[in-house]
């Protein structure tokens, strides 16, 4: 993986590095300022300033095991955010469509998986187990392919060359349709992911480190590993396969793609299908951590701030952005959330993204845009 992604990262390194260094410098300065403020007595314990600026860091220092636990959870959430964002990026790069339905595709695919497993085991009387689970998985993949094909046929083709807002609204329409359709077919009740049947590890391991205990869910480890494999696979696909190269070409110019001998329509089907598979994997992971239902929609929206951080067209951006949001959100909720009465997870990601937007509108990995008139 490293070889592949690093080559993809290389051209982006210098601005990203600059930005990172700049950011680190600013952070260091702020940290120094806080330390000085606390030591000078300007912020007595219990003051607002102390609560916001000092106390959380002191907590982190005092309970490193909790810090590690939080970071780990943030990391896992971040990986999943990154996966959803990846689906967006794929489609945006290839077709210029901001696929709002990506989040719902996550739920829809997971629901198809669980739902068809249920139908096969409960109504058709097939024996529950790995075989049927694999069968259900194949059905889900097939469904995502059919979906991709239908979307290209029914939605994208007639709307080609419309402006981005129209395309966005069409995918919002698609979102609504999928929600209604999914609930109509599989019912609206939350479902349990068939984690074990798919051969995914369950259970957890406790580590005793740093004077405390850290819980690691096996599933989370699997999620991180699978996500990494997935990303590496995609990178490989883009770099070394004919279709992959065509997809990259289409991002640059539609004509170039045609010269590779693949029609634009085929490319769209492939991209949407790929995004569908990514969604399915995401759905399995996420579904295993909680229930499968359309309540996940809100979580799917979290991919948006990730995109803002990483930029709409950058794969590495999606990954880094996902991690920043995942970790930032968990840390924020854990250490600062109580100050606001909790629940700040729902908006913190957006505010982080907003902050970035104001200071670096082109995103982490975007080039500075020079507007030529």
């Amino acid at each position: 993986m490293s070889a592949v992604t690093s080559s993809a990262l290389r051209p982006l390194l210098s601005p990203a590095l600059m930005a990172t260094l700049k950011g680190l410098g600013i952070l260091a300065a702020i940290a120094l300022a806080i330390v000085l403020l606390v030591h000078s007595g300007a912020m007595p314990k219990g003051s607002i300033g102390h609560k916001v600026l000092a106390a959380p860091f002191i907590d982190m220092w005092d309970l490193p095991d909790l810090l590690v636990q939080t970071l780990w959870e943030g990391l896992v959430a971040g990986v999943l955010y990154a996966l959803i964002a990846l689906g967006f990026v794929l489609i945006f790069k290839a077709s210029g469509v901001f696929n709002f339905a990506q989040g719902i595709m996550v739920v829809f695919s997971a629901l198809t998986l669980v739902g068809s497993y249920e139908i096969m085991t409960q109504r058709m009387g097939l024996p529950p187990g790995t075989v049927v689970a694999i069968l259900a998985l194949m059905i889900a993949i097939a469904t995502m392919f059919v979906l991709a094909w239908l979307v290209e046929r029914i939605v994208l083709r007639p709307l080609v060359n419309q402006n981005e807002i129209i395309m966005l609204m069409a995918t919002v329409g698609l979102t609504y349709f999928l929600i209604g359709f999914g609930e109509y077919i599989f019912g609206g009740n939350p479902k349990v992911m068939i984690t074990a049947q798919l051969g995914l590890p369950v259970g957890q391991t406790q580590f005793n480190i740093l004077g405390g205990r850290v819980n690691i869910q096996h599933l989370d480890v699997a999620a991180a590993v699978i996500a990494s494999i997935m990303i590496a696979g995609l990178a490989f696909f883009f770099q070394y396969t004919r279709i992959g190269r065509a997809l990259r070409a289409v991002a640059d110019s539609h004509k170039a793609a045609l010269s590779v001998g693949i029609s634009l329509n085929q490319i769209w089907v492939i991209v949407w299908f790929t995004a569908g598979v990514v969604a399915l994997v995401t759905g399995i992971m996420w579904g295993a951590r909680s229930d499968v239902s359309f309540a996940l929609e809100i979580i799917a929206l979290k991919a948006l701030p990730v995109l803002i951080l990483g930029g709409f067209t950058s794969v590495p951006g999606a990954i880094v952005g996902g991690l920043i949001i995942g970790i930032g959100e968990k840390m924020g909720e854990g250490y600062w959330g109580p100050l606001f009465g909790g629940g700040i997870e729902t908006w913190l990601a957006y505010v982080i993204a907003l902050g970035f937007l104001l200071f670096r509108p082109q995103g982490l990995f975007g080039e500075k845009i020079i507007e030529r008139i």
Partner: protein, 358 residues
């Protein structure tokens, strides 16, 4: 066909710049207003409650978002949040100053929404398009969170919701459980007419032109001396003002005391944006078409289907409604990406040049 414009000429600029320069349009508007006035007394309570009231209340928000999105070209996914600001502001105001008439507070609550809107509109100077849409999501989620987590906003009610108090106008209850539906409707209608009038005044003047200039070609707009930040923030302010008033109407005259915190969720923001896009961006009449579409369609599907003998349960109906809204949206976007207003315009143009095709 019914447009007989021959002989309608303008001898002064006031007439020429009128919002409805064609006599037949003015007659049409008068007829529609007359129908709107008698409507509550002829339709069933059910229609009044499930279609007409939410239609009126939401149409104000849709006009508001249309000002931002349709006229100024800025997308917002935070309209429901701004509606919430209006609703909570109105609630706080009327509980703190119960002696001031609620109608004034409904109007005034718009100012609070406007202030919040301007704050969240600040990033619009630097970011555009989809990026801005995501930024407004921040507003949406933050506000939604605030409505739930800040108990002061709902007066520490154990239900965690706004409890709409009884308020009167000329001794007649207009809000609260004892208010007549017809009265609520007429109050709502008054607001809708007034706000629509204000909005169309605005978009037909200098400010409206500045907005459209920013939308169509911001570089050239700046060259005309239009300060982009001012124009955009003003659009955010006015848009949020309308959303705020709409939110107050929504809670005080339509919901009448339901749990408001969950009403102003992201889905409502999307519905409002739907209404704008489907109705037609940059069109006042389109705002009404769009609102009618999102309000009436679900109800008609939900209750209309059983009425014609298709037996579906409420829950199933809701799912089918979602599917149909989604599918229809896509269909409409394909057929006419500029919305129902464009269809209306085409139809009107056809009628004007009738029997000619163009």
């Amino acid at each position: 066909m019914f447009y007989r414009e021959t002989g309608q000429f303008k001898t002064n600029y006031t007439d020429d710049m009128a919002i409805f320069p064609i006599r037949q349009d003015r007659i049409g508007i008068a007829i529609i207003l007359a129908i709107a006035l008698i409507l509550p007394f002829v339709v069933s309570e059910f229609v009044l409650k499930t279609i007409l009231l939410p239609f009126l209340a939401l149409s104000v928000a849709v006009i508001g978002l249309n000002i931002l999105t349709g006229y100024t070209g800025l997308i917002s996914l935070g309209s429901a949040g701004f509606m919430g600001v209006g609703a909570y502001a109105c609630y706080k105001l009327t509980t703190i100053f119960p002696e001031v008439n609620i109608i004034i507070w409904i109007f005034a609550s718009g100012f609070f929404a406007a202030a919040v809107g301007v704050f969240f509109g600040l990033p619009s100077l630097r970011i555009k398009g989809l990026y801005l849409a995501v930024a407004t999501l921040a507003a949406q989620f933050f506000l939604q969170w605030a409505f739930v987590r800040i108990p002061w906003l709902f007066n520490y009610n154990p239900s965690g919701a706004i409890e709409v108090p009884l308020r009167t106008l000329f001794g007649m209850p207009i809000t609260g459980p004892t208010a007549e539906l017809e009265v609520k409707y007429l109050i709502c209608l008054g607001f809708v007419i007034g706000m629509t009038w204000l909005a169309s005044n605005l978009v037909h003047g200098r400010i409206g032109r500045s907005w459209m200039a920013v939308r169509d070609m911001d570089i050239a707009a700046e060259l005309m001396g239009i300060k982009l930040l001012n124009a955009k923030l003003l659009a955010f302010a006015v848009s949020s003002f309308f959303c705020g008033v709409s939110g107050a109407l929504f809670v005080f005259l339509y919901l009448g005391g339901a749990e408001a915190g969950t009403e102003f969720a992201i889905r409502l923001s999307f519905l409002i944006l739907f209404a704008v896009i489907i109705g037609g961006t940059g069109s006042m009449i389109g705002s009404f078409f769009g609102t009618a579409f999102i309000v009436a369609l679900p109800t008609i599907l939900k209750f209309g289907a059983p009425a014609i003998g298709i037996a579906i349960t409420g829950a199933t109906a809701e799912k089918i409604v979602l599917m149909i809204i989604g599918a229809l949206t896509i269909y409409l976007l394909i057929v006419e990406p500029h919305g129902l207003a464009r269809l209306w315009q085409i139809m009107k143009q056809k009628l004007r040049v009738w029997p000619f095709p163009y």
